[in-house]
Symmetry: C2
Subunit: 153 residues, 2 copies
Amino acid sequence: MPTNASPKKIHLDDITLGDEFLSSEYHVDAEQIIAFAQQYDPQPFHLDETAAKNTFFQGLAASGWHTGAITMKLLVESLPFAQGVIGAGGEISWPRPTRPGDVLHVKSTVLEIAESRSRPNRGIVTVESLTLNQDGEVCQRLVAKLLAFRRPA
Amino acid sequence: MPTNASPKKIHLDDITLGDEFLSSEYHVDAEQIIAFAQQYDPQPFHLDETAAKNTFFQGLAASGWHTGAITMKLLVESLPFAQGVIGAGGEISWPRPTRPGDVLHVKSTVLEIAESRSRPNRGIVTVESLTLNQDGEVCQRLVAKLLAFRRPA
């Protein structure tokens, strides 16, 4: 399962159930966590190490949406879908928060492939993307429905 | 259904099925869309108006994760949960992309309330949050499982 730093672009025709894609790594620090939170999720447990101690998270934790955004960054380079990574939606969960110092990577697996009947040039590929920290612990599980297109004739 | 600019904090005890919460508005422009995409979702349809024209989106579109992050910003101020807005996960879909010039707001509705048996001081509140544009069109539907805590005795 190689990383896909500069992968060949793939079409719906090329995708098989169980295909796996491994991303590169992303280093997360407190400064990034706080900067994201200031803009999009300004709550004490995402903003300040001291204030975070007396909260549910018991220390500074990244916003789940920050983990989601980092995951997308890693997916854009590791899922070589020919017309891009275009999600219609999906399920997301955050079993544990991303913490300062974490090194994240994303492991994606194709769970389902549905070809469109009404639009024969496209389909929906269901992909599970696990965002793992340096200890192999799951910080996010995303099961996304992604658009994929057939290779042009 | 008033906006909650400076709301009273609520506990699990206070939350009732069907409760609604309305956020303030958030103005989105091309500069913000491109800045978010450069950092987290660097794909042509999120980065450049001209390049976006020949893609699935037929014009510049915000990353779904950008819409999600903006939604969180609006939820933090409009869902007055006493210990903060803490999500375990949920379902998300993007029926249409957020576009430059859109003015978003979020309308949240309590769909389900489950009290924990093992931890009687807390529960899970399922909240649907619709992210609507200025024409009332849904840019994101999020059904999130949020932690809520009982009022301390």
